[in-house]
Point group: C2
């Protein structure tokens, strides 16, 4: 297949961007179909008289959007159809782009803009910090950096930390690379525990009030510090909200980690930590060492977005839609998975945990699922002590209910094909 874009040297738009837009249109209008191979960058550069890096940049943009997919040694292919359950992120089709634009324009018009663009404080942009809780707050570059700073300050190499098993890969990687020993909560003791009480990643599990109280009591008895990852709690689709650990016991050693990124705009890297002032001071010192401070333009936009009420309006929309996403994913799992499959039934968030019947291996089946146009993360990315080869995380936050149903149907087909013996049982279960 040939790519013959109209490229205009005189246009203000860089050539790679023009090339990107041209290929994107071809994918959208169907003249490039799923599975079509794009010409190698070198070849296309030659035929269009362009520099190879120009073509690479266009391909990279397409890949970043999920429109094409590169395979080492085989080239790049149109991937328009892949339904990815692999990333815990919000649905960008819901992003309130017009409201974001309006808020960003207000910030640009702010006479204080020069200060926003000058070097800032490691603690964060003061108006945002104040909005979040003042001196007990440190603004971070997303929840991920909050975990990095907490590791640096509170969990030196050689120390032990209690975590949920399975746990969030970003937590596992950062602590294990630093030489910290991660232990499954409930089976060991350690001076620090990291938990996600609401809609845990990857299982979607929510701790009951009793579990929260028990954990706080244990923490008090053992002088344990608790890191409470609280990034999903605003996304409850059913049932009643439970108080956070920090709310249940304001005197406990709780370090709360939050973020805007699960509601909207994860491309703006803004999260935060709430803790006692002396903990914040130590984290801020580490923050200054790792990157001086977080981006101030995004902080200024996000605080205005939140203060104006636009964030809350958007959150309600996300929750309404999340209810539909959750229904879609639960109903289609019920309908499509092979008999004997188990899965968690979260009340919010964007992740759940599927366990296929033995002896099925979710990692081994992944290439087949990808060929069918679906992606997910198998258990090994999340495991601490217990191996769960039949399990995988299904992240439904980034997909519409329709795409969720399509994707689960494709997955079900792949999995059922693996165990023909189970098919009749499934058929019966589905009657």
């Amino acid at each position: 297949m040939e790519i013959r874009p109209q490229l205009d040297d005189q246009s203000g738009t860089p050539i790679y961007r023009q090339l990107y837009e041209s290929i994107r249109s071809s994918i959208r209008d169907g003249s490039l179909a799923t599975g079509d191979r794009l010409p190698p960058t070198r070849e296309l550069a030659g035929s269009l008289g362009l520099n190879r890096t120009t073509v690479s940049a266009a391909y990279e943009l397409l890949e970043q959007e999920g429109l094409i997919k590169g395979h080492v040694g085989r080239g790049s292919f149109v991937a328009g159809g892949t339904i990815s359950f692999a990333t815990s992120r919000p649905l960008d089709e819901l992003f309130p782009i017009d409201e974001f634009r309006a808020t960003a324009r207000e910030v640009l018009a702010d006479p204080n803009l020069t200060n926003i663009l000058q070097l800032g404080s490691p603690h964060g942009y003061a108006p945002l910090r104040d909005y979040l809780g003042g001196e007990s707050v440190l603004v971070t570059s997303g929840c991920q950096q909050a975990l990095d700073l907490i590791q640096r300050v509170l969990a030196p190499a050689g120390s032990s930390v209690l975590v949920e098993d399975p746990t969030y890969p970003g937590l596992k990687n950062i602590f294990e690379r630093a030489g910290v020993r991660l232990l499954p909560r409930g089976e060991a003791q350690a001076p620090l525990a990291v938990v996600t009480p609401n809609f845990q990643n990857p299982t979607g599990h929510t701790m009951s009030l009793r579990e929260r109280q028990d954990l706080l009591r244990t923490a008090q008895d053992r002088e344990m510090t608790i890191v409470e990852i609280d990034i999903y709690s605003a996304l409850r689709y059913r049932g009643d909200a439970l108080p956070s650990l920090a709310e249940l016991d304001p005197e406990a050693n709780v370090i709360q980690v939050g973020s805007f990124s699960k509601i909207a705009f994860p491309g703006l890297r803004i999260g935060w930590v709430k803790a006692r002032r002396e903990v914040i001071a130590r984290l801020a010192e580490a923050k200054q060492m790792v990157d001086l401070h977080s981006d101030q333009l995004s902080q200024a936009i996000l605080v205005k977005f939140a203060e104006s009420g636009k964030l809350e309006t958007h959150r309600r929309r996300v929750v309404e839609n999340g209810r539909l996403q959750l229904t879609a994913v639960l109903e289609s799992l019920e309908r499509e998975m092979p008999t004997g499959t188990r899965f968690t039934r979260p009340d919010g968030g964007m992740n759940l945990w599927v366990t296929l019947p033995e002896p099925m291996d979710a990692a081994a089946l992944l290439p087949e699922a990808q060929r069918a146009g679906v992606n997910y993360l198998p258990s090994r990315f999340f495991e601490i002590a217990r191996r769960q080869p039949g399990s995988f995380r299904l992240s439904f936050g980034g997909l519409t209910p329709e795409r969720i149903a399509q994707g689960v149907a494709l997955l079900g087909k792949v999995f059922r094909a693996e165990i023909p013996a189970a098919q009749p049982g499934l058929a019966m279960a589905m009657v």
Copy 2:
């Protein structure tokens, strides 16, 4: 003195911001003068019927702007007059704010905005990465994060790294905290060296062509990797540019660190690393662990700002002004410092190194300088092996030539007062 702001509940502007603006006006119009004490937050909150955190937020904003200064246990004072030579940063009065606004508005109007606001790649936003050099580039959250990632990947705890002595505190802190042994370059061997060939921070020193070639030869002989901090080279005010280490030997193990922040907008935390692809791959893995990726809105704005030529136009203006800043700082040091003072004479950048005559101690004199309204960073922040109690860094990048001259005059007065014996000598030298 009383603070009686007009606060409006119904206004869209938060109360703390109204309070901040009101106090700021009072400082600007002189009704609050340098040295005036602000009421304690609790007291002002009481008298205005506000929450104490509201008042704290206003004070924090004022402090962030350098308009007031808090002293533990003594309260907050109007600091309008302090001339700070303590931070290596660009002059914000030169920031091309209108051009920035125009570029940011273009990005906001981009149909691709949704993708900019969605989760991105740890390597960086593709158009910026392409602009900077494609696959050999990793976008980081400023130069500081580049150093953190390099430490994590290439300088494990217990290893040795060669650096300049004195060196940049952000480098010293991040490597020493990680348990890396820093050694002065030239006196030892190590697998990694970190250098700033142009306008080094803090000395302003530039390596000659011969020094660069010698270093590259040593690196080759000893299989040493060189980290080349290249954040000031675009700010040459006199003399001819020299090729960078990376340019001199494209085959050498050079990892180049760059940033936009010394030219403009350090509040947007965007820097980069250029290195061999296999090094970039390892750094990108670390980048994903520490904060997933850098802020994409700022990346999108900065690449458009650069591609449009606005960055280069602004850089020329900064260089023209830098020439005036450099002249001002050198001439006033010559004129104002006590006899026997030595200082470096850089050809660019924003820092130079002053050494007072013995037995003067720059750290011991700092409180006196601060009382006189001037700030600087004494030698101990920069020292590796050699103690230089008489020395301090003078950062002139963030001040107008007029403020530089005023500040150096104030410093000279403080220092000369310390050595009455030197006064006549000085007076004679000044004839």
